[in-house]
Symmetry: C2
Subunit: 391 residues, 2 copies
């Protein structure tokens, strides 16, 4: 099992340590797979202790056999303090845990094991640090974006009029997997679930979902009520394809919509407006611009066009038009009306202004962008128009 190389590890560690010191913590105990992957470059069972100063200690329960100077093996959390002491780290008193993620009982067990009266929340530190990507992380996202786009080129060859949405999705799952997609779709939040993406057509696009995704769909079963539901792909409907872009442990997010023959002018107009919003936001978003301003800019364009009824859903609406992506698909910043997030160089964001046209389907595009000092750089280049899959 290979961990991060030293230089990258130190870079991420120094970002975290700046936040740790700002908050007055002695250290941060990392415990979730997504955040262990961030601090170590590999998922393992155990913890990582990031002290306010000095080197991170990787406390590993499984797998056996990791050879790394900063790895120590433990069997249970009750051994953490002894492991820290043995590594020359003073017993921390102000310690931050992942309180937004750790199950209540596990947090309590850790608190007892660490013998501290209070535990502090380290989740925001990790989210903030992860929201500004390092050059290495950007490169992994860039690679995912290229491979994601390459896979999408096979959409027209997979499609046939009269197949169902799920038949189409299954073939695209195979395309993505053959092209190297890792399959797993990492998403933060205990109640968020999805399998390999969301393919929507016709009225199903207007079926509300319990999940906090931009779009809905009935799904194939009440145990996973989102996405394709067996709808036949028919002339006059659209097909929205929003599938898994995890090729490198870092996920790009990318949606393209297509038409099956002729569709109503409303669908064409809404799709063009989505492209226009992307173009407008590509001009507007710079380091220092706020996520709420970006949302409001998009919302104003939609209002001007009189398309509010269809924007971000119809029967049920999503409350955001974009979000950070990286190790997980729902990172900071969040482009929502009451977001406090401010864009920074190194953010990687997915913009997804989308529309649901009743009886037709969903339209609009989603692309993933790197925020740079000079504007947005698209990581998921692919034709944007509402192409006709029958031509």
């Amino acid at each position: 099992m290979k961990f991060l190389d030293k230089e990258e590890q130190q870079l991420r560690q120094s970002k975290l340590q700046q936040f740790i010191r700002e908050q007055g913590f002695d250290g941060l105990l990392v415990s979730s797979n997504a955040n262990l992957y961030y601090v170590a470059g590999a998922v393992y069972a155990g913890y990582a202790y990031v002290p306010a100063e000095g080197d991170t200690l990787y406390l590993v329960r499984r797998p056996v056999g990791i050879e790394h100077p900063q790895v120590v093996y433990i069997r249970k959390p009750e051994q953490i303090v002894d492991a820290l002491t043995a590594a020359g780290i003073a017993k921390p008193s102000r310690i931050a845990l992942e309180l937004d993620r750790l199950p209540y009982n596990m947090a309590k067990r850790l608190q007892a094991a660490l013998n501290v009266e209070t535990v502090f929340n380290g989740s925001p530190i990790l989210s903030q640090s992860r929201s500004v990507k390092t050059p290495c992380e950007v490169e992994l996202l860039r690679q995912s974006g290229i491979r994601h786009s390459n896979s999408y080129q096979r959409i027209p060859s997979v499609f046939e009029v009269g197949m169902t949405d799920v038949e189409f999705q299954i073939e695209m799952e195979r395309v993505l997997r053959c092209d190297g997609c890792l399959g797993i779709f990492r998403i933060s939040g205990e109640s968020m679930e999805l399998y390999m993406g969301n393919v929507l057509s016709g009225d199903n696009a207007d079926t509300p979902t319990p999940y906090d995704f931009a779009m809905g769909g009935e799904g194939l079963h009440t145990s996973l009520p989102v996405g394709c539901n067996g709808t036949v792909l028919r002339y006059g409907n659209t097909l929205m394809v929003d599938m898994n872009g995890n090729f490198t442990g870092y996920m790009t997010d990318m949606t393209r919509s297509f038409r099956i023959g002729d569709v109503p002018q409303l669908a064409l107009d809404a799709h063009q407006l989505s492209i226009d919003i992307h173009n407008r936001l590509r001009e507007a978003i710079r380091p220092g611009f706020t996520a709420a301003e970006a949302y409001n800019l998009a919302a104003a364009m939609v209002a001007d066009a009189g398309l509010d009824d269809y924007f971000m859903g119809h029967r049920q609406k999503a409350g955001f038009i974009g979000h950070g992506v990286g190790i997980e698909v729902n990172e900071l910043p969040v482009l929502a009306p009451r977001s406090k997030d401010v864009f920074r160089a190194g953010n990687v964001i997915a913009l997804e202004p989308k529309f649901v046209i009743p009886g037709v389907g969903a339209v609009g595009i989603e692309s993933t962008y790197l925020v740079t000092e000079s504007g947005l750089e698209c990581l998921t280049e692919f034709p944007e128009e509402l192409a006709d899959l029958c031509q």
Copy 2:
């Protein structure tokens, strides 16, 4: 969105309420997707309040439009008490939450919203109730088992000597999905992850994983270090196939192993011993028999055969030989040496005595069984021998 029919809902509710009253709780607030699916028959965003007596109240945040006499809509947890009051339910003081699953900060928010000094752990109640399946749940598992077995019949036609393990797995993913597999693999525990199953061949079977699965494998990437890793499927090795059996929201668990031409006698012997352990446990396991006894029986057979070095892994060993299955793949009872679980009629368990033979691969079988008064009924019928995929 369709909820459980009244009779089934009442049956599950009455099982839960017996535990709730035994523990002296006023009610149980259900919050995780898996447990909401158990009490409602559909996943939604929100909560379910199961009072010690009387009807469950479904507190729904999303999706819009559920029509059900016991559904009330809320926007946030701070509205739960008012919603209970409006439904004629007295404000509970001894309330159980899912403390094994709820993130610490969410549990604290709920505690404040419910205005209670202490919260109690309702997770064991839900696990216990779910471990004894209702006849409807057994029927869903039976259906998954039949479809799971049907999909496995296509293993020989998918296999070709010289393909990689991941190429084989991708084709099997497609087979399963085309046959109706829902894709999602529900597993309890924040750090457990897997994509569509585990396919192992050759030395990769001996690569330790961080996850608490029976078997390991390097995986394709450090962000998901389990399972196939691109190993070429060669003569003289075995191929173990352990893939997703979620066809109905209830998952069967089923592993079959194959040989690619001739394999060493050790692999043949270990595979036969796995079959023998299944047969012995099918005679032994009855309501009242303990999970620890079952584990010890298997371990003794392995010791008698002198195969300890290979049992449940080689470089790294798993600490269990079976587990309950249902909505999630790791339910109660757990067949481990220190398990306190006692078998009950209605348990559905996967038995997976497996061996890792260095340089060859993994062997052994896994089948899912219903525990009945008269013994184990297999829900995943499929030939058990180490068949040669080249014949």
